[in-house]
Amino acid sequence: MSALLDARGLVKHLGGRRVVDRVDLVCETRQIVGLLGPNGAGKTTTLRMLYGFLRPDDGRILVDGVELGRDLVRAKRSIGVCTQDDTFDGDFTVEQNLTVAAGYFRPRPSGLAGRVAELLERFDLAGYARQKPETLSGGYRRRLMIARALVHRPRLLFLDEPTTGLDPQARMGVWDLVDGLRAEGLGVILTTHYMDEAERLSDALTVLAHGRVVARGSAKGVLGDLVGEHVVVVAATNRDAIAVWLGAHGRGEPASVLGALHVPVSGEELAEFARAFPSLRYEVRVPTLDDLFLKLSLSP
């Protein structure tokens, strides 16, 4: 069976700069693919190409077997998009937002009234159906955005930073909904800055830096490849000695966070570190995706 999304060799130049450079991305049914990277890595541009907002300068995108560049309208029938910013229609109520959005798809979604009622119920929006979206809290606005992206029963859903700015409870509510969508067979492409979100929701990660894919796979695999097996946390007062040690191992400056240095190391390097600094007080922890972002943002 072919993948829901199969993007190969995507290239995009904006403002004379190559912002996406030969990116490949695949998403299967019942899979959430996390697209990660620091600011300016090319995530949003990649996502915008994938859902047909921007045309790639090179490369090919197949959505449910349909080539986006050849039949954009047909390909977009299978796609649902929840943009990072709220783009619901402020002239309409919550319920009307769903019916108006359905009007932008052909073939029209069947049983629309039932579909709208089902989404209002499922996303806990039924009590707000006749309210204007701007009266909703941030969490419920996100729910409306996702519900709207699903009104035409797409097979592939794009979620661009769906929980940015939400409180922890609202974030977890969105996670539950996204998890439920995967269980129903949707493919989901998710961009996020929240590492716990990416780790908990994603079946596979694709990490971008400077417009290129620098790692892909499971969260653990990506961290092992890009960061290391362990992270040594040591007071920043030891910076000079640590920098010399890192330099001897062909490594650059360590990341510094709140007065502590975070030094990713392999198992062998950890043993060497312990031998090199026998009297130093330090903590060893497992790496997280935060370490990955720190590393990527420090690399040239």
């Binding site: 915008r48 921007l54 029938r77 998009v81 910013d85 002239d91 108006v100 009007g103 932008y104």
Partner: protein
């Protein structure tokens, strides 16, 4: 030519349908301006200024000033409605409400959004002119105006075509102006001068204006309406309105698409 085909594709109609739905929901407030504006204008210009002017010469015969400005009022309503819809309302939808961005995440593409705005402005101008025409017909019944009111429906197709052309012009500024405050530039440098110096409210015979008005669709629209409603040459002005409107659409819609592709899509 995909930009041209988009004018008749279902997505453009879906965009128009969305705007119409909003308009009809607010019909009671939307109805007021086109109903009140001609009354105000006729009272201010017709009764007020007309008291001093009384009558003027049109096509070699004297006509009352009120009767002269009535067709101008219809042309002015066409122009102002279409231009303001595509300047301010479209800008608000694009920039502040982000309605366009929401539409673009569906099967609607930018060319449909642009045509949807153009066609909607043309349709709105037509609806406004229907209301203005009804008010003018009421004035005619009372004897304050002397027009061939039975010919008013003939104007509507022309209003729609000209309204679409004016909307394409307005969208150009929507694509170019960085903020809504900058809209003062096209409004005061182009829209108001064009609205008032196109023989809408008074005949202008200065040689410079005559030369400029030869390529001014609003001037030809006003003269064409006068020809139809109070008698006078029609065909030349009709051809000019249609030709200039088509020219505006054929040049400015592709230009708007190019400008808006950069602005809205960042491409």
């Amino acid at each position: 030519m995909s930009w041209l085909v988009a004018a008749v594709e279902w997505q453009s109609r879906a965009v128009v349908s969305r705007h119409l739905r909003v308009y009809l929901r607010n019909w009671h407030t939307a109805f007021l301006p086109p109903a009140l504006e001609p009354v105000t204008m006729l009272v201010a210009f017709g009764v007020g200024l007309g008291g001093y002017v009384a009558s003027l010469t049109w096509q070699g015969r004297p006509i009352e000033y009120m009767t002269y400005i009535a067709p101008g009022l219809l042309a002015y309503a066409t122009f102002m409605t279409a231009v303001f819809q595509s300047l301010f309302a479209a800008f608000i939808r694009m920039r502040y409400q982000r309605t366009w961005e929401g539409q673009l995440t569906t099967q609607v593409e930018l060319r449909h959004v642009v045509w949807g705005e153009v066609l909607w402005a043309g349709l709105l101008a037509t609806m406004y002119v229907v209301i203005v025409a009804a008010v003018l017909a009421g004035f005619d019944l009372t004897g304050l105006l002397h027009m061939r009111v039975g010919r008013l429906p003939l104007l509507l197709p022309l209003v729609f075509v000209a309204g679409c052309g004016f909307a394409a012009l307005g969208l150009c500024f929507t694509a170019l102006m960085p903020t809504i405050d900058h809209m003062n530039l096209p409004v005061f440098l182009l829209v108001l001068p064009m609205g008032l110096l196109s023989s809408t409210y008074f005949p202008l015979e200065h040689p410079v204006l005559v030369a400029l008005n030869a390529v001014n669709p609003l001037y030809h629209l006003a003269q064409c309406f006068r020809g139809i409603l109070i008698g006078g040459p029609v065909l030349g002005h009709l051809g000019a309105v249609v030709g200039l409107s088509v020219l505006l659409l054929a040049t400015l819609v592709p230009l708007n698409l190019r400008l808006l592709r950069r602005r809205v899509l960042g491409d």
